[in-house]
Amino acid sequence: MSAEGGLTTTGYIQHHLTNLAVCSDAAKDAAGHCHGFWTFHLDTLLVSGLLGLVVFGLMAKAAGSASSGVPGKLQNFVEMVVGLVDQQVRDTFHGKSALVTPLAITIFVWVFVMNAMDLIPVDFLPIAAGAVGVHYLKAVPTTDPNLTFAMSITVFFIMLWMNVKVKGFGGFMHEVFSAPFGAKLAPVNFIFRVVEDIAKPISLALRLFGNMYAGEMVFILIALLGIWQLPLALPWALFHILIITLQAFVFMMLTIVYMSMASESH
């Protein structure tokens, strides 16, 4: 059931939801847990980074040897994924930008592979890590809000940059203070705009985090059922494939929509 047999149900769940954190000794409490801002979740950083390096390295390799002739299997697959994302970008984003398509590809592929870590049985990686002396491991990086917020905040800044680049700083400020109610209600417009723009990264990050965290939680609860987990884990995993893909797609799609909004004048 769990890595250490003596754990209670609560302990088991908590164990599964604790990141492998590192921080300075000063930031540790009596039990050795890290607190404060200067804490790093090593599991999130390493798993997401390695997955990204592998998958984007593979894509870069396929793209580097890509030819206009008959594509190989890897190139064909990469082209299929990239083509799908590119189609979405073409349908939604009408400006000219060398950044939007690569950004959308990165988000879709990276979020997808990180979400897909959820399909590895919940105890598999923590027990394997425990065997080599690592006591906490949260294998699905997208269940860490630090990752989802890092992505959504990056998207937010790219969005601001896109606004300024397309409309100019003056144009952007004019839009912020005069839309949607006209220049007479500038403070109201500004507050509306701030709320609207702040809501974007928060909803992006929390949607992905919430979905994956809940999905992971269900896997953990199913794993607590002893022998009954066998008939339950498979259907949930099959269903979860849908969520994995859907959440990656939604994150990508909303990013494209935000970029599109940023590059069009109101």
Partner: protein
Amino acid sequence: MNINATLIGQAIWFALFIWITMKYVWPPLQKAMADRQAQIAEGLAAAERGKHEQELAAKRSADALREAKEKSAEFVAQAEKRAQQIVEEAKGNAKVEADKIVAGAKAEIEQEVERAKQQLRERVAELAVAGAEKILRKEINASVHADMLGALKQDL
């Protein structure tokens, strides 16, 4: 749920992967895909052109065949005409030659007849003289009557 410095690390990862995709994944793939699209379009256009050209060639070859047939028929007709002409000419030539030969032969025959007549004349005269000599041996001297015989020879 606690927000901490992991956020910074993840943002760096994210930026790195965007950069990789932007520099090493998307441009070559986009180029390959666009090139392939262009190649396929070109291939289809070439096929269309080829088909059109083939149709034209078929038409041209049919034209050429028809023309060749017409020309050959003309040649045959001309050749037949020329052959007839040659036969006609040959016939004419043969007739002229035959006439010439016939005329030559006639002339020769006439000459021969003339010569035979001459000989006969001489022979008749001789026979007559010989007969007359035999008859007149006793009373007629050949030399005396030579003038008369000569005149007779002329009359014959």
